[in-house]
Amino acid sequence: MAHDTNPDRRRFLAGVVAAGAAGAVAPARAAEPQPRAPSALPPTMQIAAAETGTPTVTTSRIGGVPGSDFMVDVIKTLGIRYLPANCASSYRAIHESLINYGGNKMPEFLSCMHEESAVGMAHGYFKVAGKPLMTLCHGTVGLQHATMGIYNAWCDRVPVIVVGGNDMDAAHRPPGVPTFHSAQDINALVRDFTKWDDTPVSLAHFAQSFVRAYKIATTPPYGPVMISLDAGLQQEPVRDHGEKLAIPRYVPTAPPQGDSGAVKEAARLLAGAQNPVIVADRCARTADGVKLLVELAEALQARVIDQGGRMNFPRTHYLSAPPTAVSGADVILGLELSDFWATVNSYTDNGLNGGIGTNGIRIKEGTKLVSISSVELNTKANYQDFQRFQAVDVSMAADAEATLPALIEEVKRAGPNKAGLERRAAAAKKARAEGMARAREAAALGWDASPVSTARLCMETYAAIKSLDWSLVASEGNVSNWPARLWPIEKHHQWLGRSGGYGVGYGAPASVGAALANRDLGRFSVSIQSDGDLMYAPGVLWTAAKHKIPLLAVMHNNRAYHQEVMHVQRLSNFRDRVANTGGDLGPVGTSIMNPDIEYHKLAESMGWWAKGPIKDPKDLGPALKEAVKIVQAGQPALLNVWTQPR
């Protein structure tokens, strides 16, 4: 810095020093002449403190109306029914307000034993109820536990409102553990896979943040949101800042619809096609979406491939088709596809091409591709859930379900060729009948094998529940898609899709959350529960028993992380090495055996009715009958079934 020669500035600084000294101690040489006062007097220490310091009003965090009570008032305006969470001191104030001031209703606190379980429960609940839940967690260690569940929700386009406690005031927060559990910006951990986040610094700010978070999360494309909640803000009483605290009114945002010109062009292509095929992944957000898709498919007599992100299309409909149906298409309409590239291309992990595998094309040259996907409106950079890039001919950044009415109208207006409609209908009926026959023949193979075949597992389960209003709340661990192939899935709640991000550990908590929603609707919940998935956080079994959530969990216990069994075997073969199994069945590190986990005892210890291990397929049907009765009486039940690998 250059030497300051400005005499005025020197005089000003001298004045500051003099004034400051005068305010602090008595003048040392009062008899000497006083320096001339500057034209603008600097602030005294008292004035500076009043303007920049902590207000002198009461600073006690105890007493008055707790700020967290107001937060509960905000939350209650949104009709959030449950709050699954693992308790944590960083949100103790709002915890206390929720259960005492709020009466533990709307939301009701559900005791969870892992933050990932809490998020998974909210994930599964939404897919039945269509309403989001919120969860609370430590903003640091708790959120670290929750992250995989949040990522699954992000990939699966499911809204979850995550609130993390965090004590931001480094000067006043307790030392030790609470400080280990504090961070400058807890939201940074999940910012790459949440739609929005905020850190409110006042109660008025919290009201806006929470309502905004809810609104953003529930606007398609849905997704999780994150709020950092300061411990001090929770604990401090409501203060009078001269403006009454207000809670913004929530008004749902209408989902984005496709551009009218693009809709017309899509309809023109589809109506003029010789063999249009529809592919749906997360198209049907609601039961209405299923009806709309049936209407569009029938208007075109187009076969529909349901990729199963949601229940989009009745499996019993003659236009329901397998993934291979894309091969004969001349126009393909993709509705909320998570991976358009893999829909029309193939990848084989065969070690060729320098080890990177082989890419192939599943469709005819010149096939026109149309995409309607709301996810295009909300793509982030870091995590690669957007998959490989696929060029298409018409692309709409819009919600598919909301766009279907306009598309159906335009297709009908375009008037598909009548002879073509009849030809396609006849071909589809024939193809479906043949496909079902092949599926049944395949299911019969190994029918009496021990361990139980996955086809037998699924069909025995279906036989036990078919007379009920059932909902398959999760099917984890890969049972060769038997439910999708053979169960007459027709209703939106009968199939809820999968985890989204393929983070293992989703099945158990999501099925409990979905079963909670089904309980309130009077439905019967059943899950195909895999072994590896359950062991990430089995404490959710206790949560189900604690809160009387009826659920039939039929285990697909193949005693391995079977996907990894095959991956390590593959690499061993590529390298001409015998896979080292270490005395287990699968390669070292992939088996869950020696000792075998007694899941039925694990479940029993946490308040479930349970039975197992069932190895003989003849024992499965009778055990299922017992278990169904238990679940109908309101208790969760688990059957530990030893199964074939896939």
Binding site: N350, S453, G586, Q644, P645
Partner: protein, 118 residues
């Protein structure tokens, strides 16, 4: 889903080529040894313990393809199934596995299983 499937066209091509180049004869295998080898070499992983197949691999039994064709495929596959060279799966073990698959009885017909015909 990270499914592993074998494209049928590629599989058939390998089989056809394999039939032409495969050795004329294999020693007769042992079904008992083959059952153990089927597990030891990981065949069960994609095809199931009784070769029933599933989403990750086609059915192998009952009525497996001829041993020569199976050998040609196993040694030369460029599909989703990783190849098994002689260094990790001997001809003798392969013949035993084939004998095991050949010994498996035909199960119930799908039409006779009530649960598959609701």
């Amino acid at each position: 889903m990270n499914s592993i499937v074998i494209p049928s066209v590629a599989r058939n091509l390998v089989l056809a080529v394999g039939m032409l180049i495969a050795p004329a004869a294999f020693a007769a295998g042992s079904a008992e040894k083959g059952k153990a080898a089927f597990v030891q070499h990981g065949c069960w992983q994609c095809h199931g313990y009784v070769g029933q197949g599933g989403i990750t691999g086609p059915k192998l039994a009952p009525n497996p393809m001829p041993l020569e064709a199976m050998s040609a495929f196993v040694r030369n596959t460029r599909g989703a199934m990783p190849p098994y060279q002689k260094a990790i799966l001997s001809d003798a073990d392969l013949a035993d596995i084939h004998a095991y698959l050949s010994s498996l009885p035909k199960g119930s017909d799908a039409k006779s299983i009530p649960l598959l015909n609701p």
